[in-house]
């Protein structure tokens, strides 16, 4: 009531008592009959909002009650409660601030009349195009922006450029990515203001959850741009099986590693398999030939996205045994994941070798016998022929070498075996008389691949 009364009592000030300034940052310019000044337009991107602050001063020596009226499509204003009383010779802090906003909804010219008491300012505006969104890399250059075909579980990124081609700053209220499989934006935070010709970049990811076609949108302010992409059943680059040796023989342990050339774009699992085909008809298999991690012929592998090396039973490598049977070891992989290229196959041929002598001993402790124990393996399964050369304590040969054929004994031992050719043979020679002077023996073992010698075995 008091305020109304005060306003009523105030004399209506002459128009010349009020001065209108446009405020830009810390700069104020006097506004004439039009804003912007004659020959210019207040250009604003479609469906975006631009605002201008007007500051009204009272230059008279008496208070002035100010009213504001704005008429014109697309324009709005905010101000303190009106009418607003400006004190005489008002200062910056006492001046009336009025913010006028312009939001064009079409590409066209707009105008409005800003009436401040008796002063009239014609606002001249125009709707201009929104900032331009273009793809820089990673997807098609035309709308809809196509991210292409991506393996399920994989991901691809498209980089976009958002540029203001208008001659005045443009405020972008929001940038939102919509659609299953599409995420972002990354590298941009809205709202933001783009200066004339300024461009900003941001990224959008496409991670198809399944082997389907996907579509979505990138909403820049009120502008919407379509995006699309296709999920494809994941493909694993054909793994490479690598070994710590170019070839292997029986009685060895090897080490396998599995690499993914170029890295895996996806996660994948499967098995590395080891098959064995004996080249002898005596046995059908050799269970010694196995991966040591689990004692089996197959071990699980896993590959993570981006990995260049597979984990084999959780380790970076896997050891395996070559067993004690001649034949072919074949390494393969199995996986439910489709491969690009041919699934690897590596074959190692284990050739036949003379008897592998692992340990030996000779004893004359048992009364009336010379016992010779040889532990070894015959990967040809053809051993049996042996020759024994005895020597006295001085190293002199005792008579001629004694040949013995234990082929039938070995055949009986190997019959139906599948756990390799390892054997421990105890050869016993009955002896008559004192054995005190018997010093040592050398044994030659013959199989299909040649002769193996034990070296000199001293009788204990």
């Amino acid at each position: 009531m008091k305020a109304w009364l005060l306003c009523a009592l105030l004399p209506l000030a002459a128009d010349a008592q009020l001065v209108i300034h446009a405020v830009t940052g810390n700069t104020e310019t006097v506004v004439g009959s039009t804003y912007p000044p004659s020959g210019q337009m207040w250009q604003v991107a479609l469906n975006t909002t631009s605002s201008v602050q007007f500051r009204i001063y009272n230059t008279s020596t008496t208070p002035v009650a100010v009213t504001v009226v704005l008429s014109g499509v697309g324009f709005t204003f905010t101000s303190p409660l009106l009418p607003y009383t400006l004190p005489p010779n008002s200062t910056v802090t006492q001046a009336l601030n009025v913010t006028v906003s312009f939001t064009p909804t079409m590409v066209a010219s707009f105008n409005a009349n800003l009436q401040i008491n008796g002063l009239s300012v014609i606002l001249l505006g125009s709707g201009v195009t929104a900032p331009t969104l273009t793809s820089a890399s990673g997807c098609s250059s035309t709308v809809p922006f196509n991210f292409g075909t991506v393996p399920t579980g994989g991901s691809t990124t498209c980089t976009f450029s958002l540029q203001n081609l208008n001659p005045q700053p443009v405020t972008v209220a929001s940038v939102v990515v919509n659609g299953l499989g599409f995420t972002g934006p990354y590298g941009i935070t809205a709202p933001l203001t783009l200066q004339p010709q300024e461009a900003v970049s941001f990224a959008v990811n496409f991670t198809p959850p399944g082997a389907l076609s996907y579509s979505g949108t990138i909403a820049v302010g009120t502008q919407s741009y379509a995006v699309s992409g296709t999920g494809q059943t994941a493909l694993l680059p054909a793994p490479a099986l690598q070994f710590n040796a170019a070839s292997y023989a029986s009685g060895q342990q090897g080490v396998l590693t599995m690499t993914i050339p170029g890295g895996s774009p996806i996660a994948a699992t499967g098995f590395v398999n080891l098959a064995f085909a004996p080249s002898t008809a005596v046995v059908k298999d050799d269970s010694e030939i196995a991966f040591l991690a689990n004692g089996a012929r197959s071990i699980p592998f896993s590959v993570g996205p981006g990995a260049t090396t597979a984990l084999l039973s959780g380790q970076n490598s896997a050891a395996f045994q070559t067993g004690t049977t001649e034949g072919a070891m074949t390494f393969t992989i199995t996986t439910a994941t489709s491969l690009t290229g041919t699934s690897p196959v590596k074959v190692f041929t284990i050739g036949g070798t003379p008897v592998i002598v692992d340990s030996t001993s000779a004893s004359k402790e048992r009364a009336g016998f010379l016992d010779i124990v040889i532990t070894g393996a015959d990967n040809t399964y053809s051993a049996g022929m042996m020759s024994f050369s005895f020597f006295d304590a001085s190293g002199n040969a005792i008579a001629s070498p004694i040949s013995s054929d234990f082929t039938s004994t070995f055949k009986s031992y190997y019959g139906g075996a599948s756990a390799g050719s390892a054997f421990e043979v105890t050869v016993s020679f009955p002896v008559v008389g004192s054995v005190a002077n018997i010093g040592s023996v050398k044994v030659a073992l013959t199989n299909a691949a040649g002769v193996a010698n034990t070296g000199s075995l001293t009788f204990q």
Binding site: S250, G251, Q252, Q253, S287, E288, A290, L292, A293, N294, G295, A296, A319, Q321, T322, G323, T324, I356, D358, S359, L370, T375, G376, A377, M386, F388, F390, D392, I398, A399, I402, S404, F406, T409, F410, S412, Y413, A419, G420, A422, F423, E424, V425, T426, V427, S428, F429, P430, V431, V432, G433, S434, V435, A436, N437, I438
Partner: protein
């Protein structure tokens, strides 16, 4: 000619062939299994004893420590709780129980095979790992019929005789230790030291006897076999899982 007169070797020898075994291992599940084959080419038998905390084998017999006692071919003898360290000496063995810090002698095949050493391990001067609270017994061994200990003290790792005298020293940084005839096998930072050799292997945590010629080595969750025969030292991986 004199030799031929002194004796005669019959030319008709006979042979017996059987599946070789390099010893017995303690698998990750506490099962003792026979390891068949030759070096670097082995298969495992079924678990013969389960629930085993520690095991050890000589060439002639095996002992397995369970919570309940010591399992041997002749039965189960009650024993202190926890694991055990074994040293073999012919038909006997020395057993150290780390948790109770007790030493006992095992007479294989005897009706009451386990005999505890009271008070002290040795005869005068009395000494036992207990007499020095800082001693950690890493291994027990037998040298010329007498028990020895590998102990870790603040001053280093020492080989101590039954009478408490020091028989030798190992590098201060030695990890797991196993006393073997004529010396010791121990873990270094990067491998296993044996007979003036160092065999590369990271993370060795324990040794146990598989047989007179092989030690089981545990490293990084994997079991290995170490052949300790002089001049034939070999390390190879043992199969895991339930082969």
């Amino acid at each position: 000619m004199k030799i031929l007169i002194a004796f005669a070797i019959c030319v008709s020898a006979w042979a017996q062939v059987e599946r070789p075994r390099i010893g017995k291992m303690l698998d990750a599940n506490g099962g003792v299994r026979t390891v068949y084959g030759i070096a670097s080419s082995v298969t495992l038998g079924e678990a013969e004893t389960t629930g085993v905390l520690s095991s050890g084998c000589s060439n002639t017999f095996c002992l397995a420590k369970t919570d309940a006692g010591i399992v041997s071919a002749s039965g189960i003898a009650s024993a202190p709780a926890g694991p055990a360290l074994f040293a073999f000496d012919g038909g006997n063995a020395w057993v150290w129980f780390p948790e109770s810090r007790q030493l006992a002698q095992w007479s294989n095949g005897a009706q009451n095979p386990l005999h505890y050493c009271r008070g002290s391990i040795g005869t005068p001067p009395p000494w036992s790992p207990d007499s020095d609270g800082g001693d950690e017994v890493l291994s027990v061994g037998v040298n010329s019929g007498s028990v020895q200990f590998a102990v870790r003290r603040l001053t280093g790792v020492w080989i101590v005789n039954q009478d408490g005298s020091v028989a030798g020293a190992l590098p201060r940084a030695a990890g797991a230790v196993m006393l073997i005839p004529g010396g010791a096998v121990y873990a270094t930072r990067t491998g296993i030291a044996i007979h003036n050799l160092e065999i590369p292997l990271d993370g060795v945590t324990a040794f146990s006897w598989m047989s007179g010629s092989y030690l089981e080595v545990r490293a990084g969750g994997v079991n290995y076999a170490l052949r300790i025969d002089l001049g034939r030292e070999t390390l190879f991986q043992l199969p895991g899982g339930g082969q």
